[in-house]
Symmetry: C2
Subunit: 84 residues, 2 copies
Amino acid sequence: MIDMLKAIAEENRFKIVELLTEKSLCVCELVDELGISQNLVSHHLSVLKKAELIDLCRCGKNNYYTLNKQSINKLNKTLAKLGD
Amino acid sequence: MIDMLKAIAEENRFKIVELLTEKSLCVCELVDELGISQNLVSHHLSVLKKAELIDLCRCGKNNYYTLNKQSINKLNKTLAKLGD
DNA sequence: TTAACATATCAATCATTGTTGATATGTTAT
DNA sequence: ATAACATATCAACAATGATTGATATGTTAA
């Protein structure tokens, strides 16, 4: 749980998660969107993946990442307990 | 928003927030609960306060901290957008 | 006023993490 | 097989953050 929070608590990674709510994207698309270097995007993706917030879908030359809705919902559920 | 996530994405601080869902607590009570030093608890509280996740209520010798439900709900709402 | 208690702050250290540049791996097309 | 593209990994550095010990501030009781 804390790992998920740590993973999402960073500007670039939060934005990646936001972008992936729309549709799955490959690394080069994320590089364009975020305006940061490719290796840095890869690194942030690996952090999100280790936290199980995203999944990888190798598709030929491109690697597409998708949001792991199940994990997101688990996170929501945990935080919901702290509110009303 | 990111500040809130960063603040809550740490074991001790997450536990503080959890404890404060029950009732408001003073620093010395949190020291007992968490089993860490007083100055460290104070530091974590200051991080949570700066992120507006908690509020301070000075009450004589003791300083009681309360959860800022409004902020928690704001956080929930933001994360809810990422789920279903 | 002094003592005891509760809390905050400061400086220093250590650990973690974000960032960069270079390079390796893997896939597709020619 | 070679070239071009897409991505991952590695080493190094910088920045940020957690922890500790010492000390200051502020409140209550004797």
